[in-house]
């Protein structure tokens, strides 16, 4: 006979299974013979993601049990058998199918059942609930014959059920007794916003409706009758009016239960019988039932610890939730109803975008007590951490919900979180646990999830987990993330500083001192760029030549067929008729394709490498300069016509644009830089989409920074207002120099700023308030670049040795016979593959 004690678990739902999993991971598993009763026809599955059953997940997909789990751990599971009687004196459990087991310890994990209001007719056909896979199968069957479906209950679960009905193709209604949706989590304004959004999806919402009868319908299978006399015809009725703990067995054996149900437990999850525990939704702790999985999991862990003789307590749980209901973001945190003494409320409502945010803040404005978010959940992670960890709020708490002082700049850096901060509430994983896992070598999201289980429950914490991981990897000095490439274990910023400190002037010197191997197409151009932005030597000097991408090497942009484009600078977009004619003449002579660019200048395409110096000689003779379209450098300063001609113009935007473009042309930077200047707030130059944007006002120039078009557009932020020109230029000098010093490789100003700790406010403090005392240095750095400017093309065509490269063949004057043009709309273009076969070797130039 074994000397093992017997442990019986009643119920194999989410919490029962989580208990078994924790138990077998603990050394005490060897002390027990484990038996579990499972009323449902299958072992535990993921109820939280139950609705995914309708989007194609099968019962197996939803299963929470690893294949072979029970066999492997010697657990006896009685599937489809319900515990029906407990004899506490004899310490025996009896099941419906007649199994009788003597227990030493017993655990209730019987969950809850959906509450169905005792309305006459509630048990009519097609009146269903939403809790088990069988319920969902019944819904799907009913939906096949019906057209209308109604959910009774407008809480979280009710709305999720409504979505399911809608997806089943039913004309869907939600009937809510309370005056607003989600009355537990929402205030009136939030509930109203949510209602509007849900109605926009084609679901009809009825609030303040008390159902008093369900009878035969005329057009539908059922008819609901309300206290106010209204009626609603519906085929399917789905009750989602709350849950009730399944405490019937416990009552039957005279355990203490709460007045409104629930098996009473203490901090160790023990019931009134010290050999019997209760966990999950059947348990009543401190007069509370927790209708979420995470607290149930915490209870399960507590019981395992208690059985092992460790001191452990369940001390309540955070009931904050974040979810997407029918595509609508909804979240609630803590004291949403501002019930705490002296609580202050801030709210923000945007009727246009359907966004509602509410903050509940302590009297002294230092602590976040609660929050409601509708339509935009992006701030949830940050807010939750403020609330749970009692982190002191910023001076203006409303900054956390106001759109323009965006979440990014006030976002709580994850490094501000204490190690005890809970990152994943489903599995109670703290920041500390995540950091140790990273230290132990889990350096990918996948590895972290497997190791810590974080983000494998509801998934709500994955974004936060990712930022903790990134932040930790950086902090622990893992090289994977930040190394420029295999040759340099440094970031661009590091290399910049190394250059300054060591006065390094060449790549060879860099490689010898700080790198290994030969270099590659990542580190060579990056270092070439750093050297150029500081020392500003000609980029085709022999020691720099091999560092550049082809565009920089040939001072032109390579096109798909190996030819190049030519972009002369047209400062501020202003060009005289004579200059236009000169451009036209060059284009015509070399048969170049000519196009106006998006940056207010002219691009000439299709130049062979050997033609480039000739073309540029003619352009320079006509008064043009390089436009640096090939470099990571200042591109264009776009302008609108401004006060000179425009009847609304407040100041001379063209004049300023030209001055700025001449000032910063040639500056090498981490990525390209674009400016624009508008003459008034009508903003015809689109300055607010540029790295640096300037708008004239009656009071002076307004400066905007860190805008971006391109792949991820970003509106620029207002940086300073009412500036005179001198101050404006000083600020831009500092801003650009600081960007050149501190940005990552190929980081536009927008991304640079978004990744900067402290964001816009920090940037302002460095540039405007000169908090770091760097102002003068930054200005000098810029002055050096301005003083050493040269037109790279002019220098190149004046130096025979540099021209040697501008030939297709080093040993022949022939042209590349693979470059073939055809005509289209009166100009040339590269032939496509098909055309090439027909017009081989069509001579153009």
């Amino acid at each position: 006979m074994s000397t093992k004690k017997t442990l019986v678990v009643i119920g194999n739902g989410m919490v029962g299974q989580s208990f078994l999993a924790s138990l077998v991971a603990s050394p005490i598993k060897d002390d027990y013979q484990i038996v579990t009763f499972c009323e449902e026809p299958r072992a535990a599955y993921d109820r939280v993601h139950l609705s995914e059953f309708f989007s194609g997940k099968t019962a197996e997909d939803l299963s929470m049990v690893e294949p072979g789990f029970f066999e492997e751990h010697g657990i006896t599971i009685h599937i489809g058998d319900k515990a029906s009687k407990i004899y506490r004196l004899a310490k025996t459990v009896l099941s419906e199918k007649g199994v009788s087991i003597a227990y030493d310890k017993l655990v209730f994990a019987t969950g809850s059942y959906p509450f169905v209001p005792p309305v006459p007719g509630h048990d009519r056909p097609q009146c269903l609930v939403y809790r088990t896979i069988e319920d969902l199968e019944a819904m799907a069957a009913a939906a096949k014959t019906g057209k209308v479906g109604t959910v009774v209950g407008g809480g979280l679960l009710g709305l999720e059920a409504a979505k399911a009905l809608k997806d089943l193709g039913l004309n869907t209604h939600v009937v809510q007794f309370a005056p607003r949706l989600m009355e537990m989590q929402m205030d009136d304004a939030g509930g109203a916003m949510l209602r509007r959004k849900i109605e926009e999806l084609g679901i009809t919402v009825h609030t303040g409706k008390n159902t008093i009868d369900i009878t035969d319908g005329k057009h539908c299978a059922n008819k609901m009758v309300f206290a106010d006399g209204d009626e609603l015809e519906t085929d399917l009725v789905l009750f989602s009016a709350g849950i009730r703990p399944r405490d019937e067995l416990a009552r039957d054996c005279a355990l203490h239960v709460g007045a409104r149900g629930g098996i009473v437990i203490d901090n160790q999850c023990k019931t009134s019988d010290p050999d019997i525990y209760a966990i999950g939704e059947c348990a009543l702790w401190n007069d509370k039932i927790f209708g979420l999985v995470a607290p149930g999991y915490a209870m399960a862990r507590t019981v395992v610890a208690d059985l092992a003789g460790e001191t452990a307590s369940f001390t309540g749980a955070d009931m904050s939730t974040k979810l997407k209901l029918m595509g609508v973001d909804v979240a609630s945190i803590g004291d949403v109803h501002a019930k705490s003494q002296g609580a202050l409320v801030y709210s923000y409502q945007n009727g246009d975008n359907g966004i509602y945010k509410r903050l509940v803040v302590s009297q002294d404005k230092k602590q976040l007590l609660g929050a409601v978010l509708v339509g935009d959940n992006s701030g949830y992670g940050t807010l939750l951490q403020y609330c749970l960890n009692g982190i002191e709020l910023p001076e203006n708490p409303d900054a956390l919900i106001l759109p323009h002082r965006s979440d990014e700049s006030v976002g709580l850096g994850v490094d501000a979180l204490p190690a005890s901060a809970q990152i994943c509430s489903c599995y109670d994983v703290t920041k500390g646990a995540i950091c140790s896992a990273i230290e132990a070598g889990c350096t990918t999201m996948g590895a972290l999830k497997t190791e810590t289980k974080a983000a494998t429950g509801c998934g709500g914490c994955s974004a936060l987990l990712k930022s903790v991981m990134d932040c930790e990897l950086t902090r622990q000095g893992f090289e994977v993330n930040t190394d420029l490439c295999e040759h340099f274990a440094y970031t661009r910023q590091d290399l910049y500083n190394l250059m300054l400190v060591g006065e390094i002037k060449t790549f060879a010197d860099f490689l010898a001192k700080h790198g290994k191997g030969q270099g590659c197409e990542i580190c060579k151009p990056t270092i070439g760029n750093i050297l150029a932005s500081y020392w500003n030597e000609h980029i085709l000097a022999p020691e720099h030549l091999g560092l550049q991408d082809t565009n920089d090497t040939f001072l032109a942009n390579m096109q798909k067929d190996g030819t190049y484009s030519v972009v002369p600078r047209i400062t501020g977009g202003e060009i005289s008729p004579d200059m236009l004619i000169a451009l036209g003449q060059v284009g015509k002579k070399y048969k170049l394709y000519t196009k106006i660019t998006g940056g207010q200048r002219v691009d000439l395409f299709g130049a062979r490498v050997d033609q480039l110096p000739h073309i540029w000689k003619e352009l320079i003779d006509a008064g043009f300069e390089s436009g640096h379209a090939y470099g990571k450098s200042l591109r264009t300063v776009k302008s609108c016509v401004g006060s000179t001609w425009c009847r609304f113009g407040v100041d001379d935007s063209v004049g300023l644009a030209i001055e700025l473009e001449n000032r910063y042309k040639g500056l090498r930077s981490p990525h390209k830089i674009k400016f624009a200047v508008s003459g008034c707030t009508r903003e015809c130059a689109e300055a607010q989409s540029k790295d640096v944007g300037i708008i004239a006002t009656e009071n002076g120039w307004n400066l905007y920074v860190c805008g971006n078009g391109g792949m991820k557009p970003r509106h620029a932020d207002l940086f300073a207002t009412g500036l005179d020109k001198e101050t404006l230029i000083k600020l831009i000098d500092r801003f650009l120099s600081f960007y050149v010093r501190t940005a990552g490789r190929l980081q536009r100003t927008s991304v640079w700023m978004e990744n900067m700790e402290g964001g816009l406010d920090y940037l302002k403090s460095v540039i405007i308030d000169d908090k770091l005392g760097l102002g003068e240095q930054l200005e000098q750095q810029m002055q050096h670049v301005i003083d050493t400017y040269q037109c790279e093309w002019k220098t190149t065509i004046e130096d025979e040795s540099k021209l040697k490269r501008f030939r297709h063949f080093i040993n022949s004057d022939q042209a590349d016979d693979n470059v073939v043009f055809v005509e289209e709309r009166g100009q040339v273009r590269p032939a496509d593959a098909n055309e090439r076969k027909h017009f081989k070797l069509l001579e153009v130039a």
Partner: protein, 114 residues
């Protein structure tokens, strides 16, 4: 064995590439300093369908000498011609030598047969 005279060593660009016309073929020549190692490969980029490889940045990846195409940045091993991103793609590689400060290439023989 047929070595062909291509150009003088001064015509090469240190730590960079140039293109030469050899027997009607476009050959990209790379010259590494201070080691004075040379490589010769075909100039045609099979991904970009253009004669541009001589204008790529050279370097090494995991100890293999490579050139990165200037068009879409695939790497080609300068000794074997194999593309690092897609090993089913291999471009021709030619033996190259310096003789009396002259650069010579052998088109008949592929380098990996050496």
């Amino acid at each position: 064995m047929s070595w062909q005279d291509v150009c003088g060593i001064d015509d090469l660009q240190p730590n960079s590439g140039v293109c030469a016309l050899v027997d009607g073929q476009q050959v990209a020549l790379f010259y590494l300093t201070p080691s004075a190692v040379c490589h010769a490969i075909n100039n045609y980029d099979p991904f970009g369908h253009a004669n541009v490889l001589s204008r790529g940045v050279i370097g090494d990846i995991n100890g293999q000498p490579v050139v990165a195409s200037p068009l879409y940045k695939q790497h080609f091993n300068l000794q074997t011609g194999v593309c690092l991103e897609d090993e089913t793609v291999k471009i021709p590689v030619y033996p190259i030598r310096i003789n009396n400060n002259r650069v010579e290439v052998n088109l008949q023989e592929s380098a990996d047969a050496l």
